[in-house]
C-alpha cells in the first residue's frame, strides 16, 4: 500500500507536465480537426427541406444518391486524371530530381529554387495564368498564328488534357521534393560499386538506383494523387466543366447547389478513399514520416 501511494505521488507531477506539453496540441487538433470532421460526418446523414435548409431528419438518402451513374462516371474520371497526373509527375519529376540531387555545382541551388519559388505565388493565380496563355486569344495561339503554323486558333482549353496539364503543373513539387530527398540520400559509393562490378549505367539504374529510391516514388505518388482528387479549381478553370472531378462535385453542393448534406456525404467518401490509399501505401512498406515533407 505504502509503495503504491508513493508511486502515485511521484506520478502526479509527471502527468501534470505531460498535460501541459501535449494539452495545447490536443486542444488545437480537437477544435480544428476532430470537431469539424464529426460535424461533416453528422451533416452527411441530415436532409434538407424545400427551402434548402438543413434539417435533422436522419437519412441515408445522400449516400444512396452517390451511387448514381452520373456520379460514378465522375469518380472514374477523377481517378483517371489523378492516375495520369501521378504517372506524368513521376516521368518528369524523376529525371529533374536526379539532376538536382546529383549536381555538385552552384546550379543545384538555382534548380531547387525553380521548384520552390512557384510555391510562393497563389496557385489559383498561376492557373489563371495558364488559361490566358492557352486561351483562343492567348499568347500561345497568337504566336502560332503569327508564325503561320495554322490559320485559326487551336482550341486548347476545356479538355481533360488541359486539366491534367494544370494538375501536373501544380502538384509536381510534391513529387520532386520526396524524390530529391530519396536520391540525395543514395550513397554514391553504391553506384561506383555497381559500375565496378560490371553494370552499365542503365543496369545500375534498374538494379540499384530505382529500388533504393522507390520509397520516394511511393510517397511522392501519394502526395500527388490525393490532392489531385480535390483540386477543384484546376478542373474548374482549365477544364471548364468538361472534366469535373470529385472536388468539383463537393464544391458545387456547398455553393450553387446549396445541398450541404449531399456535399458532406461526398466529402466523407473522399476522406475514406484517401484513407484507403494511405493504408495501401503503408501495406507496401511506405514510410509515414516521408509524407510529412
Amino acid at each position: 500500500m505504502d509503495i503504491e501511494r508513493t508511486q502515485k505521488r511521484r506520478i502526479r507531477p509527471d502527468t501534470l507536465s505531460a498535460i501541459l506539453m501535449v494539452g495545447p496540441v490536443t486542444l488545437v487538433m480537437v477544435l480544428l480537426v476532430a470537431i469539424p470532421l464529426i460535424y461533416v460526418a453528422a451533416m452527411s446523414f441530415c436532409s434538407i427541406d424545400e427551402f434548402y435548409n438543413v434539417t435533422s431528419d436522419l437519412t441515408m438518402d445522400n449516400y444512396v444518391r452517390l451511387m448514381d451513374a452520373d456520379y460514378m462516371r465522375i469518380y472514374a474520371r477523377s481517378l483517371f486524371i489523378a492516375f495520369v497526373t501521378t504517372i506524368l509527375c513521376i516521368l518528369i519529376g524523376y529525371p529533374f530530381s536526379y539532376i538536382i540531387a546529383r549536381t555538385k555545382s552552384r546550379r543545384k541551388k538555382v534548380l531547387y529554387m525553380l521548384v520552390i519559388i512557384p510555391f510562393w505565388t497563389n496557385s489559383l493565380i498561376r492557373i489563371y495564368g495558364w488559361r490566358s496563355f492557352l486561351g483562343t486569344n492567348g499568347w500561345l495561339n497568337s504566336l502560332i498564328i503569327a508564325l503561320h503554323i495554322t490559320d485559326g486558333p487551336i482550341d486548347m482549353l476545356y479538355r481533360n488534357g488541359t486539366t491534367i496539364l494544370g494538375m501536373v503543373y501544380c502538384l509536381i513539387p510534391f513529387m520532386i521534393l520526396p524524390l530529391y530527398t530519396a536520391i540525395e540520400k543514395l550513397d554514391a559509393s553504391l553506384l561506383e560499386a555497381s559500375y565496378d562490378l560490371g553494370a552499365h549505367p542503365a543496369r545500375t539504374f534498374l538494379e540499384v538506383i530505382l529500388p533504393l529510391t522507390s520509397g520516394g516514388i511511393f510517397s511522392g505518388s501519394l502526395m500527388v494523387f490525393i490532392p489531385c482528387l480535390g483540386y477543384f479549381f484546376v478542373s474548374d478553370i482549365l477544364g471548364g466543366g468538361n472534366s469535373d472531378m470529385i472536388g468539383n462535385l463537393i464544391e458545387r453542393q456547398f455553393q450553387s447547389g446549396n445541398n450541404w448534406p449531399l456535399g458532406a456525404a461526398l466529402s466523407i467518401v473522399l476522406i475514406l478513399l484517401t484513407l484507403i490509399l494511405v493504408k495501401i501505401y503503408q501495406r507496401l512498406g511506405g514510410d509515414m514520416d516521408a509524407l510529412g515533407v
Binding site: 559509393s189 561506383e192 560490371g198
Partner: protein, 369 residues
C-alpha cells in the same frame, strides 16, 4: 615479373589543390603493394584513378597494358573493395556476391556454384539469405571482399578495408587477406594509413606524403633505411637528430649536434659540412654509465615505462629534447635521475639528407644569382 599496372607522370589537381604530384609507379603481377600515408596524402585519389572513378589531370595510367581512358569502369578487369563496404542494402548476401557474375551473364548454375565456393572461402556459409544490415562489421567486410574476388579480377584495389574493424578482428583479417591473395595470386593494391598493417602484409610499400611517393621499397628497406625524415618518423618510432657532418673516416661520419657529437655510418652521397638528420630506432639505442668513444651526448634518465616484453626508457638531453630507448625487460638499468651516456653502433643509425637544408641552399642560390 611483368608489370600489370603502370602509372607514368600522373598529376591530379582539384581546383588549386595539387593532390597527386608527378607520380611514377609500376605494380607487378601477383604483387601486394601498399600505398601508405596519412589522410590527405593522395593515396585514395591514386587508387580511384586506377579504378577509373577519377581521371588524371595529366599523365597516363595503364592496366594490363591498356590506357584506362579507353575503358569505362564497368568494362575493366579491376575490382574495388570500398572503405564503407558499399554493399547493396536491398539485396541479400547471396545477391550481393553474385552481382558481378550476373552482370557478366554467367549461367545461373555456375553463379550458384561460384558463390557457394566464395562464401566458403571467406567463412560466410549459411548467410546467403541475410541482408547487409543483419551482419556485423567483420562479416560485411568479408562480403565486400567476396563480392570483388568472385569476378577473378587481375587487380584488386582495397581502400582502407579494415579501417572500421576493432584491433583484434583487424589483425585476424590482415592474415586472412594475405592468405587469400597468395592463394588466388591476384595483384592487390592496398591503401592504408596504418604503418603496422602495411609492414605486416605488403610485398612493397609506397610511402606517400603530400602527393609524392617519398619512398618505394620492401617493408625491411622502408623500416631500416628510411629515405626521408618523413618516412623515418611515420613508420615506427624513432629518435631524430639534426646536425652537421664534421668529419668522415672509413665510412663513419662524426656529426656535431646541439648537444654534442655522434657517430653514424655514412653512405657515399654525403659530404663534409653537409647538414643532415640521423634517425635511430629506440631498440637500437643503448646507454652507458661512462662516456663512449665517438659520442658526446650526456643525458639524465627521466622515466621507465613498462610495456610487457620491453621497457621504454625516456632520457632527456640538456636542451630539453627527450629520447626514447627500448630495453628488454629484466636488464639492469641505471636508476631514475642518474646521468647516462646514450650511444649506438654507428651502422645501426641511418643518415638522411636534410630536405629543409636543400630548400635553404636553393634559396641562397637564388639570392646569389
Amino acid at each position: 615479373m611483368k608489370n600489370i599496372v603502370e602509372i607514368e607522370g600522373v598529376n591530379k589537381i582539384y581546383g588549386t589543390n595539387h593532390v597527386v604530384r608527378n607520380m611514377n609507379l609500376s605494380v607487378g603481377e601477383g604483387e601486394f603493394l601498399t600505398l601508405l600515408g596519412s589522410s590527405g596524402c593522395g593515396k585514395t585519389t591514386t587508387l580511384r584513378m586506377i579504378a577509373g572513378f577519377e581521371e588524371p589531370t595529366s599523365g597516363s595510367i595503364r592496366v594490363e597494358g591498356e590506357p584506362i581512358e579507353e575503358k569505362e569502369p564497368y568494362e575493366r578487369n579491376v575490382n574495388t573493395v570500398f572503405q564503407s563496404y558499399a554493399l547493396f542494402p536491398h539485396k541479400t548476401i547471396y545477391d550481393n556476391i553474385a552481382y558481378g557474375l550476373k552482370m557478366k551473364k554467367v549461367p545461373k548454375a555456375e553463379i550458384k556454384e561460384r558463390v557457394a565456393e566464395m562464401m566458403e572461402m571467406v567463412q560466410l556459409g549459411g548467410f546467403e539469405k541475410r541482408y547487409p544490415s543483419q551482419l556485423s562489421g567483420g562479416q560485411k567486410q568479408r562480403v565486400a571482399i567476396a563480392r570483388a574476388l568472385i569476378n577473378r579480377p587481375r587487380v584488386l584495389l582495397l581502400d582502407e578495408p579494415l579501417g572500421a574493424l576493432d584491433l583484434k578482428l583487424r589483425k585476424q583479417m590482415q592474415i586472412e587477406l594475405k592468405r587469400l591473395q597468395k592463394k588466388l595470386n591476384i595483384t592487390f593494391i592496398y591503401v592504408t594509413h596504418d604503418q603496422e598493417e602495411a609492414l605486416t602484409m605488403s610485398d612493397r610499400i609506397a610511402v606517400m606524403h603530400d602527393g609524392v611517393i617519398d619512398q618505394l621499397g620492401t617493408p625491411t628497406e622502408i623500416y631500416e633505411h628510411p629515405a626521408t625524415r618523413f618516412v623515418a618518423t611515420f613508420i615506427g618510432e624513432t629518435n631524430t637528430y639534426d646536425g652537421c657532418i664534421s668529419s668522415i673516416t672509413d665510412g663513419v661520419a662524426v656529426m656535431t649536434l646541439e648537444n654534442g657529437i655522434v657517430s653514424v655510418a655514412c653512405p657515399d652521397d654525403f659530404s663534409i659540412l653537409e647538414y643532415a638528420t640521423v634517425s635511430v630506432r629506440p631498440e637500437k639505442m643503448r646507454f652507458s654509465s661512462s662516456p663512449v668513444e665517438g659520442f658526446g651526448l650526456q643525458a639524465q634518465v627521466k622515466d621507465y615505462i613498462y610495456v610487457g616484453s620491453v621497457l621504454k626508457c625516456i632520457v632527456s638531453l640538456p636542451n630539453g629534447n627527450e629520447l626514447k630507448i627500448e630495453r628488454l625487460a629484466g636488464q639492469e638499468l641505471p636508476p631514475v635521475g642518474s646521468r647516462c651516456y646514450p650511444y649506438w653502433i654507428p651502422s645501426d643509425a641511418v643518415l638522411i639528407h636534410n630536405e629543409s637544408h636543400y630548400i635553404f641552399e636553393a634559396l641562397n642560390d637564388i639570392r646569389l644569382a
